[in-house]
Symmetry: C2
Subunit: 399 residues, 2 copies
């Protein structure tokens, strides 16, 4: 029944996750898995371990013994080059680069179909929580309504320090970076780009539909100011950065990454620190909640290790929801209206957004805010403008 394939790994990248994976393999020594060679940018650096380092892609791809590429590089373009080469050459591959995956998934799915090679990337969405495999294997399309969650550990760590420990945004960001939770470019975390990539990957496995990054409204927490924190506290809520995809009653999909003012009765309200939490909602099973560490070397490294073990058993994503419905996949729309909290400094910035209706309005010398209904399409239109100004927006769902 269970027959383990021998895997000889060519590893690309030796940052936090690469090192953690290396240590995990040293400690657990799983049967039939070993790293043969590690490709790094700077081969002269002393890494304190006895391993075969190279800076030459070919010395990995041309080694006939190596049959699995594990790619843990930071740079999306390098990641794309490595993964597509692996797939073209019929090798199995494991990737941890969400940005690359989010940009190229349809092509990578097509390549797997044509070459018969395997690409796994469960570690890329929510670290140690097996979200992709569960969506892929367990949650049947017809019954799935929405997937929603805290997808980025480092921005959640920052928000937790602010809301549970009274820190300022700046101090909290510094602490997240020192704890090693932040990406090398903090904007990936705090501006929502990392959550966006994960949301795109999740959407493909949840509903089959691929939505290009530029079509999804994305707004992060880097514009968060004390006024916003105070507003949330006064309303008894916490702000969390949430990625959300939902099937509307008409069958269309809506998706966005936006700070949300969450009340206590929401599952993800209590997801703190660098943890991730995902709520999967179905027509009949109601809500399911999965929760685990979403950042850090070892949790992510052990998720990568699970992908590797899956390769030993020839596991593949089947992309059922996508491939069996390629001609009638749910369409994406930004045509949905909801309540938001919008804080702005310059009175003119209120004109950025077209409100259907406004139910609260506050003005002062320091700052102004409104609570009102608007559409996601309208927000998406002005997302870049909003990022550049001293304004903050959050979804503000009713209690």
């Amino acid at each position: 029944m269970a027959d383990r394939k021998k895997l000889v790994i060519g590893l690309f990248g030796f940052g936090t996750v690469g090192k953690a994976l290396y240590n995990l393999l040293e400690t657990t020594r799983p049967d039939g898995v070993r790293i043969k060679r590690i490709c790094v940018r700077d081969i002269s650096k002393n890494r304190g371990i006895e391993a075969d380092f190279t800076d030459n892609y070919d010395s990995i791809f041309n080694d006939p013994e190596i049959n699995l590429i594990v790619e843990l590089v930071d740079d999306a373009r390098a990641s794309y080059a490595i993964i597509t080469r692996a797939l073209r050459e019929g090798m199995s591959a494991v990737s941890g680069n969400k940005k690359m995956l989010a940009e190229h998934l349809p092509e990578l799915i097509e390549m797997q179909k044509q070459t018969g090679s395997t690409l796994l990337y469960d570690a890329s969405a929510c670290g140690s929580i097996p979200v992709i495999r569960n969506l892929e294997e367990y949650y049947d399309n017809e019954l799935l309504v929405s997937v929603k969650g805290i997808l980025n550990g480092s921005s959640n760590y920052i928000l937790t320090k602010i809301f549970n420990h009274g820190m300022t945004y700046e101090a909290a960001l510094r602490e997240a970076q020192e704890a090693g939770f932040a990406e090398s470019d903090p904007s990936l975390d705090v501006d929502g780009w990392d959550s966006l990539s994960k949301l795109i990957i999740i959407t493909v496995h949840a509903f089959g539909t691929y939505i290009a990054p530029e079509n999804i409204f994305t707004f992060g927490i880097s514009n968060l100011r004390d006024y916003d924190i105070r507003f949330a506290r006064e309303k008894g809520r916490r702000i969390k950065l949430v990625g959300h995809v939902e099937k509307l009653a008409d069958g269309r999909l809506v998706a966005c990454v936006i700070p949300q003012l969450l009340s206590k009765n929401k599952y993800i309200y209590g997801v703190d620190d660098e943890f991730n939490g995902v709520v999967i909602k179905g027509l009949y099973y109601d809500k399911q909640f999965m929760f685990g560490r979403g950042a850090g070397g070892f949790p992510t490294g052990s998720a990568i290790l699970s992908d590797i073990t899956a390769c030993q058993y020839d596991y593949k994503y089947e992309y059922k929801k996508r491939l069996t419905h390629l001609n009638d996949l749910p369409e994406f729309t930004n045509d949905v209206h909801f309540r938001v909290f919008f804080r702005y400094r310059n009175p003119e910035d209120l004109n950025l957004i077209e409100f259907d209706s406004i139910s609260e309005k506050y003005s002062s010398a320091d700052f102004n805010y409104v609570v009102g209904h608007t559409s996601l399409a309208d927000l998406h239109r002005v997302a870049a403008l909003m990022r550049d100004r001293d304004v903050f927006i959050a979804a503000y769902p009713p209690d």
Copy 2:
């Protein structure tokens, strides 16, 4: 890539879950799945639907068109007869009978190996939470430390009514039965037997080891009295019925079903009503938490439907952890010591348990209790005696 097999189902049992499954299939009409015939005990009963009912097993097994047996009967012996016949005849089968599975898993695994037929039962452990498939597919043996959770929805519903709504045990039990959450025999829920069955199934998929039901200490909540509730409240804790399996540092497994006095900082403290919650702990990813509806027709019916869909794609449990380690599976032990709260009416009942040490002792005309350390082996020895007397025991972990 993804090719859906056509499934023609012979359904056994038309209780709450059977009916829910029938309605789910009527509503969602998944491609290539239909129920052809339904076998029930009493064919004369008017069920208000147009379907081909029979009370004759043969009319299902002898129908050459039927290629999947879905068995949702209450009676473990009938379940065993149906499932073993299906496997022997090379048919795929889905079972929801935890008791039968817990009693016969090693034999059923062996039968699948020999006949090449498939048996799926994700719905049997924790309803809509895909615990088994996650343990099977994702959590690698070497890294897994423990699985622990609230595995029975109806006893948890009762405990929630008691602790969050101040109900008495009796009133809460009545309400659970009226809400349709309780098994036909409430002792299965409240005495921990249902949790025990699920724990055994989970253990096989988590660690490979099969532990027979009679070897696992099992104590439920039917002896719970107001004194116990008061004690928990005074200590700022809630009582939950917890199934727990853990790999000790020496590699041996310990498992039990026991009420626990839980403090607020535990994930499962907040799992309320009929929900189930499972915490999976690994060496490197720390803790993961899965949460969802664990009882009720539709959540369980949709879990059964996921098993059916999995059959369409020829999914099988690989039983990796068991089959690749059959000769060196972790051994089971009850040789573990921990702190308990033990409440008793008759002073002599204190002699039931051998305590290593006692740290608190309370006596009054109405009731007595001690807090002390004892061994699971010792508790297991007197489990049946304890059930028959007016005593209550709960694990009482340090803060």
